[in-house]
């Protein structure tokens, strides 16, 4: 989470007693879930396009041929 987002959250927590403890819970969760929570640090695992490639390799396959997302 960026500094700006974190600050926004803290400001809301100060202004909204109802939410403040829920927000604290989330901050605790962020600290505890695998360390850093900066989205730029996120790394996708390898092989994420395997299904796309398999789909594309089908005869007559192409983008947009199957169901909508």
């Amino acid at each position: 989470m960026s500094w700006r987002s974190r600050r926004r959250l803290e400001l809301h927590a100060e202004e909204c007693p109802d939410c403040s403890l829920g927000i604290r819970a989330l901050r605790a969760l962020l600290r505890l879930l695998g360390g850093g929570s900066d989205p730029s640090e996120a790394r996708a695992p390898a092989g994420i396009f395997d299904r796309v490639r398999a789909d594309a390799a089908r005869p007559e396959a192409g983008a947009g041929e199957s169901e909508a997302p």
Partner: protein, 199 residues
């Protein structure tokens, strides 16, 4: 429909060109388009599901659905927003499937309740693990709309406008969901433990 192709993509290829090529069936262009967002897509799936294996499965399914739907992608929307919306929907579906598998297992209230953490003593590591598990469980208890709001806004750090767009609702409705989600997390986890753990 023409057969899928794979042509080289340079690092400087503009996004609109990648979109056009991907729509024409160019897998390389699609991968270049999606790859820059893959880390954050994986991250949001991991936040919602709390399980790396399931998150990877969701990411693969997200990309497959995006590939199959790229021709219907409306270029006026941001690619990032579009991909994120698919990832959030897929994550919620995966969580619902998990819930269905465990439908006959009653929720353990004691598992949700968190012990009040003490100082950094020998027991703190176990307490932190329990807190993490309890919070993940609490998030898992939320309805899909509330969970989506909470993860996008409070965990991923999107602005209300961005998060509402990804969730596909108006800002007022999004704020209502977010508020409800925060209250639910608070109720599930318990005030005393949170004051001690977050203070």
């Amino acid at each position: 429909m023409s057969r899928a192709v794979w042509s080289p993509v340079s690092a400087n290829t503009p996004e609109h060109e990648l979109i056009g090529r991907a729509r024409a069936g160019d897998v390389g262009a699609f991968e270049a388009l999606a790859e820059v967002h893959a880390g954050r897509l994986y991250d949001v799936a991991l936040r919602i599901l709390g399980d790396a294996v399931e998150a990877e499965d969701v990411l693969q399914e997200t990309l497959l659905r995006a590939w199959r739907g790229i021709r219907r992608f409306e270029a006026r929307a941001a690619v990032f927003t579009w991909l994120y919306r698919i990832a959030v929907n897929e994550s919620n579906r995966a969580l619902e499937r998990r819930r269905a598998r465990r439908a006959n297992v009653p929720v353990d209230e004691e598992a949700v309740a968190v012990p009040t953490p003490s100082s950094d003593g020998p027991a703190s590591h176990a307490e932190r693990r329990e807190l993490r598990e309890a919070l993940q469980l609490a998030i898992g208890q939320l309805s899909a709309p509330c969970r989506t709001a909470l993860v996008l806004r409070d965990i991923e750090g999107f602005s209300t406008r961005e998060a509402a767009e990804i969730a596909g609702v108006g800002e007022a409705a999004f704020k209502s969901r977010l508020h409800q989600a925060r209250l639910t997390v608070r109720a599930l986890v318990g005030d005393a433990a949170l004051v001690a753990s977050a203070g």
